[in-house]
Symmetry: C2
Subunit: 375 residues, 2 copies
């Protein structure tokens, strides 16, 4: 199956739509949540369980995979799908996000430090050619260029790939933001050119930049839609709170062609979905649902459950009686509380199964609501 | 089903036998390996997967369960089987082993320190009444008496229970060993009396003591077989190496009635099985196979695999091509190496599945060999 995107239904009340992304490894129904499988596995779950849960697309990180096990080992296995034994679609990023996170920390850290660089010396140089950094495993210097990022993603053979971009921090000064903005678009073009040399059936999404500068966002849309990308991802800093994020996304999608799939990078909470799906975003990736699970937060429609609380120690009911996940079918809040408190490894698996199942179903419900015209 | 033990076949070449232990929650084929599920779960596996793997009997620790979640919470759930959602048999210990481990450390620590007590002050007093210790969770003082241990195991409602005993260290001086020996038998008698008041369909195994003193071992067998125990476990220190262990077990079983099930506490490696099954031992418990899995040691007949070794990073074959476990059916050595090196939680589950499956099959093979008269 070659890559394509088909819109099945458009909401009359908003820009929300139901669609299907066709990829060489199968279909992704949209809107949908994309689980983050950094090292080729969603933390605490194996890839067969994940397929059984119905996770249609996962997001693997080129940065982590190039450092370990290295793209050569994955290529020799026959690509990432074969290496991790997943039969369903995979999207990989360019490695840029993690390299720039090394420089500024997480979005949270960065907002706190107002753009001040981190003290560690892992990122050595950012120049036109690419970014030079050190491996956190062995200190080896690695030069990541747009071409190199694409070559690695070719070796991984993921279904959807991402061009190398620069992630400027929220607090970057205007002049530097512009400089970064221009370079990032040159990098994306070089990435695309490298991809076109040898498509291998992969799709490539352009990444819209411009931070919280609306003019730059518009300009980014205009530049990138002239290139033959297969879809678009909204990247860069999208604001310091939900209000700002919604505002930027709403503004950005206006300048993108309707018939292309649109991905919002790094967002994955229910509150955001409610506001962002009506803007016409099709897919979202985030490690939040799995991270939350490992930190004792179990998703429930009315109110999430903090399983570490003592009151759950004697409640012999599932996390959610309406939930059909393996965890809810087999275990009680009391047992989950006990497993968390005794730090049993299986807690992380059972909690992750529940939260992933929750996200998959939430997205199914959104699709049904849009089809029924009630969203 | 009430508890009983039936010997199906006796080897002509040794004292090895094939049998069936009938319990209220089903049958345990013997000889068999008993997985250690300290807190009510085999580390990194959930109880449904464990049942699917065919683990017929698991060993849960009263000491850990009384401290968390507490026996009341388990009793209110309807017993341990209901609390942890296991439909197959469970054996629990008395709590004594762990309390005395607090005092002397693990067997390994103890041998290294030659019986010197550990510095921490968790065990406060050992006297005729019982043993007073502090909870490692909240520092609360807990008095564990033989009666209390049995009452807790009644609340847990496990299929097979163990009387409270004292675990004297290997290097205990003769006079003190005798004192401990006599007290332990009084404690076992008090445990048995408490059990008989309210059997609840549970079976109780007497624990043979005497350390490495052959006269005491013989005496322990003689004392305990006069009591109405349903089976016997060999406990206490059984020597500082395999040779001494085999010698002590061989000597001890001579003085035990043939038709009772016999359990060897804390032993679970292939080398020991080969020597101990011919002595007529029916069941073995040990955390070794699961602990080994978590420390990168994957079982294989010819030679175990240390998956952390770099040479496995590009071997795209299962741990064992003849193995039918979920892990070997789905994943390669290269991927397992990658998961271990990137500290992915799912490594621990996949490695544990393999080692547990290995043990279950190894025991099946022993039963077949004994039945065929080739062991």
């Amino acid at each position: 199956m070659t890559f394509s995107f088909k819109i099945l239904h458009k909401s009359k009340k908003s820009k929300a739509r139901v669609g299907k992304i066709y990829t060489p490894h199968g279909i992704v129904d949209t809107p949908n949540f994309v689980g983050v499988a950094t090292n080729g596995t969603i933390k605490a779950l194996d890839n067969k369980i994940l397929e059984d849960l119905g996770m249609q697309l996962i997001f693997c990180n080129t940065y982590h995979l190039m450092i370990h096990p290295g793209e050569d080992i994955i290529a020799k296995a026959g690509g990432l799908h074969k290496f991790i034994n997943r039969n369903l679609p995979i999207i990989t990023d360019s490695g840029g996000f993690q390299v720039f996170s090394l420089l500024y920390g997480t979005v949270f850290d960065e907002l706190k430090k107002k753009g001040k660089k981190r003290s560690d010396k892992l990122v050595l140089k950012i120049e036109e050619e690419g970014v030079l950094f050190r491996s956190y495993r062995d200190g080896k210097k690695i030069l990541l260029t747009p071409e190199k990022s694409i070559q690695i993603q070719k070796a991984l053979h993921s279904d959807i790939i991402i061009p190398l971009d620069e992630l400027p921090p929220y607090y970057l000064k205007e002049k530097n933001l512009k400089k970064s903005f221009e370079r990032t678009h040159r990098w994306e073009k070089r990435s695309l050119d490298e991809h076109i040399k040898n498509k291998k059936g992969q799709a490539i999404y352009g990444v819209i930049h411009g931070g919280i500068d609306k003019e730059l966002r518009k300009k980014s849309c205009n530049i990138l839609q002239d290139f033959p990308f297969d879809g678009f991802a909204i990247g860069g800093s999208i604001g310091k709170n939900k209000k700002e994020m919604v505002d930027i996304v709403k503004h950005t999608v206006k300048y993108l062609p309707e018939e292309y799939p649109k991905h919002l990078l790094g967002i994955g909470d229910s509150v955001s979905f409610e506001k962002i799906i009506p803007l016409g975003i099709d897919t979202f990736d985030s490690s939040y649902p799995t991270k939350a699970a490992r930190h004792a937060l179990l998703f429930k429609k009315e109110k999430n459950i903090k399983i570490s609380k003592k009151k759950y120690s004697y409640i012999y009911k599932p996390i959610d009686e309406r939930c059909n996940c393996f965890t809810c079918k087999n275990y009680t809040l009391a047992y989950m509380h006990h497993l968390f408190k005794t730090r049993e490894l299986v807690f992380y698996s059972l909690a992750t199964i529940h939260n992933i199942f929750f996200m998959i179903n939430l997205m199914k419900e959104y699709r049904e609501k849009i089809l029924k015209g009630i969203f």
